[in-house]
Amino acid sequence: MTTTLATRPPAAAAPARRTGTRGGRVRRTLYWIATHALAVALSLMFIGPLVFVALTALMTDDQALTGELWPDSWNWGNFAEVFARSHLLGWLGNTFMYAGLGTLFMLLSSVPVAYAMARFRFRGRKLAFLAVITMMMLPPQVIAVPVYLIWARFELTGTLWPLILPMLLGDAFSIFLLRQFLITIPREYTEAARVDGCSDFWTLIRVILPMARPAIAAVALFQFFYCWNDYYGPLLYAQINEENWTLSLGLASFRALHSVQWNLTMAATLLVMAPVIIVFFFAQRVFIEGVTLTGVKG
């Protein structure tokens, strides 16, 4: 019987049981090797593209066209050339403005709204929550025409303000996520603050904010990254005005502007990716906790 179990493909094997027999130990070892080998193979697939981008970014443009995988010479000057040939710093500044102000405005408006939704007892709070989800799921293209016309009336098309200013009126996804976290804070805390004579505002500042720090950090990071990565929004409003391009817009036209210079295109791509990857390594926990909050658990 042990032999039949041992020959079974590792993927189908049940989680190792402590049988103590030698066959069991062999099977457990094989299972360990199989799962970890699979994980290593998958890692190569996930990381591989980034490695090839980095390697190509360092090639000469002739070599980048050949499809060779390893650079003959390491052309670190490619990065300098990207800066010289494009307005990368300008795009970076615009992206920072969009992401920074967008995140700040979102926090100012969404935290109180989520607090009210999670804490106050009023008729229609369930309806309000469902409305938040509906808005969160609305494809942005559905409302594009009328919203564009609003901003055209204010003569703000061609700038990034149509993307930043609405953040003052709350962001559905952030409200949703904050609310999901805030309802898990036991009512006793807020009730105690109320008994001590704390107003709602000060309860939010002194009691809720410190407890909700992980959730607030998560929505702030999500919002920042959303703005940083956003292409559709800037395409709609800022494409017509090169001065207000973001990194996404700039990168999207980079290859067409520099014909087939894949090495420079990859160098530019790498420069756009780098900040995001660096931030992720510092703030990994925040992300992972935040993503888990978006699940369906109540």
Binding site: A12, A14, T35, H36, A39, P49, L50, T56, L65, G67, L69, S109, S110, P112, V113, A116, A118, R121, F122, K126, F129, L130, A131, I133, T134, M135, P139, Q141, V142, I143, A144, V145, P146, V147, Y148, L149, A152, L168, L169, G170, I183, N229, Y231, L236, S248, A252, S253, R255, A256, M266, T269, V272, F280, F287, V291, T292, T294, G295, V296, G298
Partner: protein, 315 residues
């Protein structure tokens, strides 16, 4: 508890007014960026509008829609994404999460590695993939190393959407994390009991894991479908970079290269409204997109309503 109960009616009203005040920014946002645009979209759909002149044309835009081949192609492409890309993403995300739960060493490291690509900016990720999958690029080198004829991915109308699917599977991070949390929530003793009863790995997955994570599976699938309906950036960038064209207002570049195989409904809507300036017609497409996404949003709302009853209710 009886005290709060006795004080309920006046306090409820007071809290109602307070909630209205606290939520007012979002209520304004909801009115300006949801209710008004939807009404206006419906209104414009009966008009010819090019930013300057507004002219009532009745059902002309709707009639045009039925003769607009590109609209139908874009709908077909969007449906392709729903039918193939979404299941690929969900199943792959679940499989990777399942693998992570089985790792005894380095689970945290692997989790980081698998999650990382989902943070790569969409434009940067797409440009990278178009390069990696170009006819003489690294991926095809590897494929040909094994003696298999490699396709011209983003240059071939039959392979462009599978290419985009690979890109989507690369950025599986969020789906994977949600599944991972759900899998780790399944009580261990259920598996132990099943193992004692001699249930195989597959049997355990079907009888324990699947039922336990079904709400999360449902959530991922439905949100995946809604995001597939909005699929825009990756397709737009892939077609532009592969074709080597810049896009600007008034340019004649029609997205969807090669041969409209990557033209999705949101792209065609965008093109109609903001490149051709047929804004009335774009609104017809917008209403269609709204209806499609609303069907799936309703499924999601039902699920959330079931949850808010116990936890978000007035308790």
């Amino acid at each position: 508890m009886s005290v709060t109960h006795a004080a309920a009616p006046p306090r409820a009203r007071r809290e109602g007014r307070k909630a209205l005040l606290w939520m007012s920014p979002w209520l304004i946002g909801f009115a300006v960026f949801f209710v008004y645009p939807l009404v206006a979209t419906a209104y414009f759909s009966f008009h010819r509008y090019d930013l300057f002149t507004l002219e009532f044309t009745g059902l002309d835009n709707y009639r045009y829609f039925f003769h607009d081949d590109r609209a139908w192609i874009s709908i077909k492409n969007t449906l392709w994404l729903v039918v193939f890309m979404v299941p690929a993403q969900v199943l792959f995300g679940l499989a990777v999460a399942q693998l992570l739960t089985r790792l005894k060493a380095g689970a945290g490291f692997f989790r980081t590695v698998f999650y990382l690509p989902s943070l790569v900016p969409l434009v940067a990720g797409t440009v990278s993939f178009v390069f990696l999958m170009n006819p003489s690029g690294p991926l095809n080198q590897i494929i040909e190393f094994f003696g298999i004829a490699a396709p011209d991915w983003f240059g071939d109308k039959d392979w462009a959407k599978p290419g985009l699917t690979l890109l989507a599977m690369w950025g599986i991070g969020n789906t994977m994390m949600i599944f991972l949390a759900a899998l780790l929530d399944v009580p261990k003793h259920l598996y132990e009991a099943a193992a004692i009863d001699g249930a195989s790995g597959w049997r355990q997955f079907r009888s324990i894991t699947l039922p336990m994570i079904s709400p999360v599976l449902m959530f991922s699938t439905v949100t995946g479908v809604i995001y597939a309906l909005q699929y825009f950036t990756q397709a737009m960038i892939a077609s532009r970079v592969a074709a080597g064209v810049t896009d600007s207002p008034g340019s004649s570049f029609v997205p969807g290269y090669p041969e409209m195989s990557t033209l999705t409904l949101p792209q065609w809507l965008f093109h109609a409204g903001f490149r051709d300036f047929s804004m009335g017609y774009a609104c017809v497409l917008a209403l269609l997109l709204f209806a499609a996404s609303m069907i799936f949003t309703l499924v999601l709302l039902r699920q959330f309503r079931a949850f808010t009853d116990d936890e978000g209710g007035n308790r």
